[in-house]
Symmetry: C2
Subunit: 145 residues, 2 copies
DNA sequence: GTATATGCAAAGCGTTTGCAAATAC
DNA sequence: GTATTTGCAAACGCTTTGCATATAC
């Protein structure tokens, strides 16, 4: 896993390159994702940040804006839950897919080389230029059965 | 592919079994999905039905309610597009996954036995009781590259 | 000093719901 | 006749946006 100072530097370089400013709020969101390994809604992040940093003023709009920025910069990634919104995680890890428990909401990550290969082959077969792919397995986790 | 009268009968039986009523609106939605092979948003279906049947009064709430009914009855299925909502299709076909063009919105269906098998194995490995799984490959279709 | 970023509140959008009227059975 | 379904409009929840103020540079 990348060290935080390196991640921060990467983020700052990216901001500079795009003439964007390095702000307390942007750093807080980045740091939050780094320190809290897991999947969070914008609302989660907003609430926890306000709790953990009562001194810093942060609005939910900024959390949304920062997450969008981090996602297009490929520093964060998200999984969609339909009407219920999205959950974000630090996106620097190796590509992976998700098992999602419909009862407790827990998310398990996995990576499968064979599936990855098949996806490439399928895209090729349809002359499709793949830019992304997601796979979600939903059901009941071990604890919830 | 199933013949329409058979599908209709299946639907009517299902309604009867659950003490639900067979209405013009419900039939129209079913027929729409049968006749229009493809993937449609509730809005699409609502608009096209109003156009094609100016004599019948139908509200968008009824379209939503009927699609939900068809989906839980496994007559229709949906793919989620995050904030942009869901698209529905007749769900009686064999299970399949989707290639989605981010430019023209076109959706290609595919089925891959190896991927299906791997999914089963992954669920087993995590002691996960799989109830559903979806896979989406996004990118550019042949025409849009 | 200037341009960008922010918080706030209002608006947006797909979806759901309460309710009185309409309809299937 | 009675229970379910409907259309309508209002409410909903997540997300985005306009704008005046604050802040990074």
């Amino acid at each position: 896993m990348i060290e935080y100072p390196l991640l921060l530097e990467k983020f700052q370089t990216l901001l500079k390159e795009n003439a964007l400013k390095f702000t307390k709020q942007r750093e807080l969101v980045l740091k939050f994702l780094y320190e809290n390994n897991g999947h969070f809604t914008p609302e989660d992040i907003y609430t926890l940040l306000k709790e953990q940093h009562p001194d810093v003023n942060i609005g939910i709009a900024t959390v949304y804006r920062t997450l969008a920025l981090l996602e297009t910069s490929e520093i964060a990634s998200s999984i969609s839950f339909g009407v219920q919104g999205k959950k974000y995680e630090l996106g620097l890890k190796k590509h992976h897919d998700h098992l999602i428990c419909t009862k407790c909401g827990n998310i398990i990550e996995f990576y499968d080389e064979i599936i990855e290969e098949r996806q490439e082959e399928i895209a090729k077969k349809f002359n499709f230029q793949m830019t992304d792919h997601t796979m979600k397995i939903t059901g009941l986790c071990e604890k919830c059965q």
